[in-house]
């Protein structure tokens, strides 16, 4: 039963870049409809794990996705110059020219005012949008062609605290509405407890994997962030 719902199998994944070991012996299975949070300190190899899962970098070990699966990816560093002449419409048109599909994707990410969409947002340059708006458009871009899996690399980097909460809430809402499996890199442990069904702790090695309340035990937190951060976290949840 477990086997049929497994959408991804990773075993003994190792990644070495420029002679440096970045990921060491990572193995896990991912079930359909899971929301997996990947946590770990800076330089733990979180983004590298995503890039390996997408086949963008060389690795050893095996990564097996379910057949004919559609995976979309939102990279962390999505910076676009304000004078880059590309409108939101043109950006979304790279995926589909169908206006109704575009409208429905934008509606799904909470942009519902059709007048605003048609007369303002779509004609706006992508680089003129605020961090939160860009993130919404990117999420719309990611869901527009009905993927099975979305990989989010720190979707709230560069967004203020209030906006962060909204984006995570939005991702959860999408997950509830659509048949989606989500992998998300996050720095925020509160997010993990609130939105993830599974947590993958990474510090070059895989430190923990499982339901957040079980997997993120004191020893895992210590292996991830050291003693000091463990205490801070402990304080937050008491």
């Amino acid at each position: 039963m477990e086997l049929t719902s497994s959408i991804l199998k990773v075993s003994h994944l190792n990644v070495t870049l420029d002679g440096q070991k970045i990921l060491h012996d990572i193995s896990f299975d991912l079930n359909r409809d899971d929301t997996v949070a990947v946590v770990g300190p800076n330089g733990a190899g979180k983004s590298v794990l995503f890039r390996a899962l997408l086949g963008l970098i060389p690795y050893t070990g095996t990564i097996v996705w379910e057949k004919n699966i559609k995976i979309n990816y939102i990279p962390q560093r999505f910076t676009i110059d304000s004078d880059f002449p590309l409108t939101v419409r043109e950006f979304l048109n790279f995926k589909t020219k169908n206006h109704h599909t575009i409208l429905s994707a934008l509606r799904s990410v909470g942009i519902t005012d059709e007048h605003h969409i048609n007369h303002h947002l779509l004609n706006q340059r992508l680089g003129w949008l605020s961090g939160g708006q860009i993130q919404r458009v990117l999420i719309a871009w990611a869901i527009i062609d009905q993927p099975d899996v979305i990989l989010f690399d720190e979707p709230t980097a560069g967004i203020d605290v209030g906006g962060e909460e909204t984006i995570y809430h939005l991702i959860k809402k999408l997950k509830d509405e659509k048949d989606l499996t989500i992998l998300i890199i996050s720095h925020d442990l509160n997010v993990v407890y609130k939105y993830a069904t599974t947590v993958l702790c990474l510090n070059k090695d895989m430190v923990c994997y499982g339901a957040p309340t079980d997997a993120l035990d004191p020893s895992a937190l210590k292996a991830l962030y050291g003693e000091a951060t463990f205490l801070t976290h402990d304080h937050q949840h008491k």
Partner: protein, 263 residues
């Protein structure tokens, strides 16, 4: 007799306008993508590499376009490989490799032809140039249009584009190949020293006045054509070498475009 000569003259002038205009359009269009990819400096220096190829063509009497294109192609493949295999930034590679090529080219080019090679001479065009230039420009522009989506996307995020199973490296290579073709053709108009300007300036002006991507690429091409044609006309009127005037026209268009800059 007088009438025949004047017809002959205007024929050549007409040829200059068509060939120059087409090259301007092609250069402006490809320049639009080069500017977005922050290749302005590369484009400028790259044109210098054509000189040794041009020199060899003059020395051994084969088509200068073939010589220039071969030199550019070798340089581009070299940069493409070195960029992937070493961690030396491409700007440094360009700075070393391309200026060395210019120095070598200046030494190799026979003295009487040096000025023409450096600053171009579209006055020398023949009908044959038309038959070569127009189809090549048309083909490059169609090919560029076909890969414009992945080109634009990979400029924003290489990883995002690669995650969509788009072969970014191949697309980049094809793009560089097209740059080599356009630069090699353009040397006829502006010479090896100034060709970079014909690629960069119209696109920079186009960027100032455009909000959308399609308008930007279209306007870059149009302004490239306008710069080339107006430069050739002014040069013809006042008896100057066309190359520098084409670049000056482009520079003027850029200044005017600043007045209409999209905020």
């Amino acid at each position: 007799m007088v009438c025949y000569i004047s017809n002959g003259m205007s024929d050549i002038f007409f040829l200059q306008l068509i060939i120059g205009g087409a090259i301007g359009i092609g250069a402006g269009y490809i320049g639009a993508f080069m500017i977005l990819r922050r290749m302005a400096l590369v484009g400028d220096a790259l044109s210098h590499v054509a000189l040794p190829g041009l020199a060899l063509a003059l020395l051994f009497n084969f088509n200068p376009f073939v010589g220039a294109f071969t030199a550019l192609f070798v340089a581009i493949v070299g940069i493409w490989i070195l960029e992937r295999k070493t961690s030396i930034p491409s700007e440094t590679l360009v700075g070393i490799f391309f200026t060395t090529a210019l120095a070598l080219g200046i030494l190799l080019t026979p003295q009487p032809e040096l000025l023409e090679a450096l600053f171009g001479d579209i006055g020398n065009v023949a009908r044959m140039d038309l038959y070569i230039t127009l189809p090549i420009i048309a083909l490059v522009m169609i090919a560029l249009k076909l890969i414009s989506k992945p080109l634009a996307l990979s400029t924003i995020s290489k990883d995002l584009t690669r995650s969509m199973k788009i072969p970014v490296n191949t697309i980049n290579f094809l793009f560089l190949l097209m740059v080599a073709i356009i630069v090699a053709l353009g040397i006829k108009v502006t010479g090896t020293l100034l060709m970079g300007a014909l690629v960069i300036i119209p696109a920079a002006a186009g960027r100032n006045i455009s909000r959308t991507f399609s308008h930007y690429t279209f306007m870059s091409a149009v302004l490239g054509g306008v710069a080339a044609i107006s430069g050739i006309i002014i040069a013809h009127q006042y008896g100057f070498t066309p190359g520098p005037l084409v670049v000056l026209s482009g520079g003027t268009l850029f200044l005017v475009s600043l007045l209409f800059k999209q905020q």
